[in-house]
Amino acid sequence: MKNKIFLFIIILFFIFCFIIFYKGLNNSNIYTPNINNKKDLPIFISKDFYLETEVNSEKIFLDNNFYILNIWASWCVPCRKEHPILMELSRNKSIKLIGLNYRDNLNNAKKFIDELGNPYSQILIDEEGTLAVEFGAYGVPETFIIDKNKKIIKKFIGPLNQKLLKEIKLFLK
């Protein structure tokens, strides 16, 4: 009898642990570091994806808009996953999406866009990967939010998902 009560309590305890761990797993654990002093946009010269002409960074971020800069590549598997979310973001009129094509083969990149759609208002080429470094990127994909004062106010490491999308939308309000 004693044993049975004991067993029952143990089982309850483990079930409790299971629930806690299960819930803990679903909590997002991606910590995006809060950038306290907002970073200035780097000034750079890059090539346009379609026209292959040189563009100056000051001319890209001209409008009085929020900008989202997304670093992507056709060979990047998570980029493929986050693409629908970018497409959804692009429907929002108050922001402009800028793509930064990172160390890519131009043909593959164009196929990628043809296949999945183009969410970007402009795409820049970063053949050497140096531009991404200037932005302080760790890898692909990465997404930066740039406010009206041309400062980077937030960055997301790794692919965007529905949760982060909500966060971004909150930010823009």
């Binding site: 044993n3 803990g24 797993l25 909590n27 654990n29 056709s74 060979w75 160390r103």
Partner: protein, 627 residues
Amino acid sequence: MLANQIGYYSLILGLVLSFILSAVSIKDFYNNNQGINQKVLSLSFLQFFFVIISFLSLILSFINSDFSNETVFNNSHTTKPLFYKISGTWGNHEGSLLLWLLVLTLFIFLFLIKSNEQPKKYRILTLLFQQVIIIGFFLFLLKTSNPFNYLFPIPKEGLGLNPILQDPALAIHPPILYLGYVGSSIIFSASLSAVTQNYVSKEWAKHIKKWILISWIFLTLGIMLGSIWAYYELGWGGFWFWDPVENVSLMPWLTLTALLHCVVVLERRIALTSWIIILSIATFMLSMCGTFLVRSGILNSVHTFANDPERGIFILIFLFVLIFLSLGIFFLFHKENNKNLDKIFWLSKEASILINNWFLMYFLSVILIGTTYPIFLDVISAQKISVGPPFYHKLIVPFLIPFLVFMSLGPKLDWIKSKVENKFSLIIFFIISIFLSFFILRKLTPGVLFNTVLISPAFYLFFITTKDLFIKKFKNLSQSIAHFSFSMLLLSILFNSILSLEIITNIKVGEKYNFDKGQIFFQKLEKNKNSNYNSVIGHFKINNNKGKIIYLKPELRIYNQPVTITSEADIKTTLLADTFLVMNLVKGKEYFNIRYQVKPFMIWIWISVLLLSLGGLMSLLKKKYEK
């Protein structure tokens, strides 16, 4: 390309073999033949063989930098040195799970070969329980983390192995640690099967002790290597940080140590049987729990590879299935042995082992709570906290004192019932250690009283074990060595933490910084180019008050794939102390932030852990148990 296919299909074949093997052994279980059917042995070998083929083909893909393999693409790069390409195989989530599987199948095969004298049904049941674990891992690997995912179009270049993982100690530490972790799976399966067969006996204890020792030795070495890596490569200026993943490796070590001592009791008399089974189950569950905590990304730590909840849920469910399975078996089959046999006289070796067991369990619960409490709190009240070293130090250190005293006295007692002999020498040693620690500490540190109380039992254990080591000669040498090195380990850790010196300052080239025991002079800066990183080396000259001059050259490395800056500490090791210097860039300024440390007895920490595992090894190789 081809290696990819071969690897993948060998994995599937391995899984299929699991089912065939289970079926064949169940049939053999009801067969009245003596000894296990030869088929079972060959099938088990075949399974191991397929997993090794799969593992080798993954290594081959890494060596060839075959980026059509997603794992290789994510974790390797053509410019990596060959050694790190190979170690990259298990430096990531998928590969390390494949390694788990490799060790699982290897161990069960070895178990079958080495357990010829054991009852047949017990061996077969062990195999079956082990197959449950193996099937679980096969499914986990194939379903959520296939190491052979195919990529198209084939990328030209990989994303690189994390540069902080490019270190020899780290490269070999996962395999060693896994041998320990996964080795405990055999203990788990064997104890479950022993319970069902009512075979928890003296013979069983003798046989399972070997497996406990093997796991224990590898776990000890693995933890040490991990800690060496943290010390030399991470450059945080310490060897143990109570990082969740470090804790996770320490927890099974504690239960395994407790188990090792209990099994010694069981070798003598039928006692503590339930406790031994619980410890065996707990050890493997804690190893699994470790895998869960590390792999699911539920905790943040330097070790978290995967942030994929699907994987987490799989291991979580698997873990709890195993927990409930073992609970069920334990409560259904386990019979308490005759009660009066279980009585333990208070002044006996058993009693002291039991007391030390309680202390070990106390340490375990402190660590377990410290590691998992943040998760519980986060879920229940959405508060984020992190539990740091002060928590562990405050709760563990005071209890080390009685622990060490019991550890000194315990081995002096006899089995079953004993009287204290040689009281005189024991007391003399105790007084000597108190005085010795007081006089050593009086000059060196302000907190004399507390530290004396702490250091004296460590010295006490040290003296008594030293005496045992030299006077008792070869009587139970392995135990003497293990206890001696443990006391050495504690003494070095304690002195290391009490006497460490640390200076943190900002300094620029050509500047001098004076402190009360000497002077640091930043002489010059040197720039270098290497194949996969660029480096900046600082030249420092450190004058000691005693006129000793040390030159230290810490380094900053800028790796190109992916772009990561790491700082390499420069460490000069002598028998008495390590001097340690690490520098970091201060953003936008010409200043460098440097951390200079003098850490006494560092090398003795590593030496004593090595000795500790040597003690285990000697016990393993010892043919007969000495009285």
